[in-house]
Symmetry: C2
Subunit: 199 residues, 2 copies
């Protein structure tokens, strides 16, 4: 539809997640009108990220060397491992500033439809990390959806014989939300997990 280079860019942008053909076109025309230096910065950032970023050998988080910042940090307690699906979940947990232990990134969740089984996730690497007996608690922080729950259940059974404390993040009403708009599953979980207040 467009001349060569513009259409090529629209095609490449359209392959990104969440970018439809209309957005791809809007972004391409924005870049056409932008300063060459801005476009070069984006192109360089793309090249850099593939050249420099790797995955931590210990926990699977993104890293710029063989070990990520968190695994390398001596102030983080090695007695607790928080298991998450993706590296971006590490950032979400870090944002709470509540957690001072280590992480383990599975690289996804069990999903029979997409043919992802336990062997496709970094579960054996987690078992290896438990060998030295330093770890006392595993916090399973997979997503609160079907795949995340399946993964949590599988993992907790796998961990059961190890004699560790295995916990799962609480489900319930989102803070600042409105009870009226909560879906029935979340509301059901909020009832199940209800806590005694006061006296």
């Amino acid at each position: 539809m467009y001349e060569g280079a513009v259409q090529d860019l629209i095609d490449e942008l359209g392959r990104l997640p969440g970018v439809g053909p209309k957005s791809a076109q809007r972004i391409a025309f924005h870049l056409l009108a932008a300063d060459t230096s801005d476009v070069r910065r984006l192109a360089d950032a793309l090249t850099e990220v593939k050249a420099r970023v790797q995955f931590c050998e210990t926990c699977g988080n993104v890293a710029e060397s063989a070990t990520c910042r968190i695994c390398a940090d001596p102030r983080r307690s090695p007695a607790t491992i928080c298991v998450v699906e993706e590296a971006k979940d590490v950032v979400a947990v870090e944002r709470t500033r509540e957690y001072r232990g280590k992480y383990h990134v599975l690289g996804g969740a069990i999903n029979p439809i997409e043919n992802v089984g336990p062997d496709d996730l970094r579960m054996s690497q987690l078992m290896t990390r438990l060998a030295d007996g330093v770890v006392e608690e595993i916090i399973i922080a997979t997503d609160p959806n079907v795949e995340g729950e399946a993964t949590a259940t599988y993992l907790s059974r796998l961990l059961a014989p190890m004699g560790l404390r295995v916990t799962r993040l609480a489900s319930g009403l989102p803070v600042g939300g409105d009870l009226e708009y909560a879906d029935e599953v979340t509301l059901g979980r909020a009832f199940e997990g209800r806590r005694l207040v006061g006296g």
Copy 2:
């Protein structure tokens, strides 16, 4: 929040129109997991578009040489010029396969809030194109919003003394739409522009 290269990429992606921080993060992690060759293709497309794409000296459309494909095409009638705001509007009109004339891309619309006046648009270049007396009709196809209407009005006054046929695209109900959901301005325009049916 993330280590250097990942955060740099998220920042650069977040500067694109319609890409919020969450989308930028999702795209960045998608690219981290993607094949290096896919990411290189995107980076190359960005570099290429700035290196090769320019704007047609005649009409202002995107081009890969001094003259765009449409201006260079001898089968396109030089007697009609369709005036649009942006190069992407050229593609929208081309998609209808109804129009066989030439184009003129203004590069925007009159917008006092963003300080865009007639002098910031390619209006004098349009006047220059009319000098040889070949053009018979100017079709004003600016957007059907306040800025587009202002631009159309300004342009039609500018063109009035030239003795050309000056037309504006019809406003009315979108085909396949539902009268019930039409906004009152569109519906009002549809009434104004009503046509006699049959005998």
